[in-house]
């Protein structure tokens, strides 16, 4: 292999390490913030690293068959693969850690981001735990809910920038000197509301609901399987945040900007979640098919007729 491919492989590894570190630290910070809002001291911010390390060092992990074995592997594969399509930083006109990019990768990403949940659904289905089955059906119904405003928002962006690749949208923002969240505010609002569901924080935590479903799909996954799920969840949180920053907030030119932007964005679902109780499944779906979808449709019409 020549030097260029080695550099890009190093880039992949660096991206995964970065996503893991940022994702897990954010998880710890969220626990700390939750604790402070509930007037507690809270765990240290590095608590999630301990948790994941401890789960990886558990000496047994029971499994119920090969599909359950593959479920968390699917989840982690989907997270890492979607990460590969997200340009993490943009330098002056060029993209660092751009990793894999091609025309239409935004559409590919739409499918890839669902793949992990579907893999988990198959894995959880084999455990035979009734809580998992309920959790999976709830999760998939909720996904049908928030995918609609999310796709509408992306369609608005694609129409406006005449590009179906993430780098294309970033180039558009750099060329016009604005952010898509100001260029296409309705699409941004619709996507932001869809994001509330994507992160599974309250009031949309119907899938994992620990009090009623004993953590739903994850209920039969212990030890290393749970560790893999937590790892993939942390990476995936970073993927979603970085994607939002890239397509709506003009990307980030250095790591500090990236952390600031993703963190501010992350606080939207987190703070909304801390002060909310849980919706029922049908309430949550009705929520997504109400205002967010309407705003998404308006966003598309705005792009088509006004722009």
């Amino acid at each position: 292999m020549d030097t260029n491919s080695w550099i890009s492989i190093l880039g992949f590894i660096a991206t995964v390490v970065l996503a893991f570190t940022v994702g897990v630290s954010y998880g710890g910070i969220v626990r700390k913030i939750t604790a402070r809002i509930q007037n507690r001291v809270g765990p240290p911010v590095y608590q999630n690293f301990f948790d994941i390390f401890k789960l990886y060092s558990k000496s047994t992990a029971v499994n119920h068959g090969w599909m359950q074995h593959l479920g968390p592997a699917f989840a982690i594969t989907a997270s890492v693969t979607s990460l590969m399509f997200i340009p993490v930083l943009n330098g002056q006109g060029e993209f660092w850690f751009a990793n894999l990019n091609f025309k239409g990768d935004l559409i590919f990403l739409l499918y890839m981001m669902v793949f992990g949940s579907l893999g988990m659904a198959l894995g959880a289905g084999q455990t035979g735990n009734p809580n998992s089955a309920i959790g999976v059906s709830r999760g998939l119904s909720q996904m049908v809910g928030y995918e609609i405003p999310w796709v509408l928002a992306l369609v608005a962006l694609m129409l406006q920038t005449k590009s179906t690749s993430i780098t294309g949208i970033m180039d558009y923002q750099i060329a016009h000197g604005t952010w898509m969240m100001f260029e296409s505010p309705l699409a941004f609002i619709a996507a932001l509301m869809a994001m509330l569901g994507m992160f599974h924080y309250a009031p949309f935590d119907v899938t994992f609901a620990p009090a009623e479903l004993s953590s739903g799909p994850a209920s039969e996954f212990g030890g290393k399987y749970l560790a893999m799920m937590m790892t993939s969840g942390s990476i995936f949180a970073f993927v979603k945040l970085a994607l939002f920053v890239d397509i709506f907030m003009g990307g980030a030119s250095n790591l500090i900007m990236l952390v600031v932007k993703t963190f501010l964005l992350y606080m939207v679902p987190v703070l909304y979640g801390i002060v909310s109780p849980r919706y029922r499944t049908e309430q949550s779906i009705r929520y997504f098919w109400g205002w967010p979808t309407l705003i998404g449709v308006l966003g598309v019409l705005y792009v088509v007729f006004v722009r």
């Binding site: 626990r31 604790a35 509930q38 007037n39 507690r40 001291v41 809270g42 765990p43 608590q47 301990f50 948790d51 390390f53 401890k54 060092s57 558990k58 000496s59 047994t60 992990a61 029971v62 809580n131 620990p210 009090a211 004993s214 953590s215 994850a218 209920s219 039969e220 996954f221 212990g222 030890g223 749970l226």
Partner: protein, 181 residues
């Protein structure tokens, strides 16, 4: 785990440090002492400071917290839950009832010494122990874990016959599946 020189390997020291700081608790709260668990976990005493966190299912948990008396009927469920947990796992006996039967000493359908049925690592006495005592018990468990001495699960595997015999003595209708834990 300590080796034959009674000292831990470096790998174990690191692993045990992580285990000690991250205890996922499955609270088996059928005894009246369970009323002290909510204040321990919530704002007033905040056990999450020490990395102690409630978990919803046995598969995900490290610590089984048995709060108080166990009827022979519930003992069966506790054994099932305990055997579903993944190694390394620990048990905390909570309240006098798990130590000697407490005020249920002469009851016909509760067990007296929990340690005869599942291996207990730490006892917290009191009827009922206050949240401070509960947290002290957890810190005692953390110390044992750091020293590699919280090896109840290994003891259980080694003396499985003895534990099974004791369990079957009190549970008359023993029809439990075999677990490969």
């Amino acid at each position: 785990m300590p080796n034959d020189k009674n000292s831990q390997k470096i790998v174990d020291i690191i692993k045990n440090a992580a285990r000690k700081h991250s205890l996922f608790v499955l609270a088996y709260g059928t005894g009246c002492g369970a009323i002290e668990i909510p204040p321990t976990m919530t704002s007033r005493y905040d056990a999450e400071r020490f990395g102690i966190r409630g978990m919803a299912t046995p598969r995900q948990a490290d610590v089984l917290l048995v709060t108080g008396y166990l009827a022979t009927k519930t003992l069966k469920r506790v054994i099932r839950a305990y055997e579903q947990m993944q190694d390394p796992k620990y048990v905390i006996g909570f309240g006098s009832c798990t130590i000697n039967g407490g005020m249920y000493w002469d009851s016909y359908n509760t067990i007296k010494l929990l340690d005869k049925y599942i291996p207990v690592d730490v006892y917290i006495n009191g009827c009922m122990p206050r949240p401070e005592a509960v947290i002290t018990g957890f810190i005692e468990l953390q110390k044992l874990i750091a020293e590699g001495k919280a090896d109840g699960a290994t003891k259980y595997k080694e003396n499985l016959d003895w534990y099974r015999a004791n369990q079957k003595k009190v549970i008359k209708n023993w029809n439990m599946p075999d677990y490969n834990w």
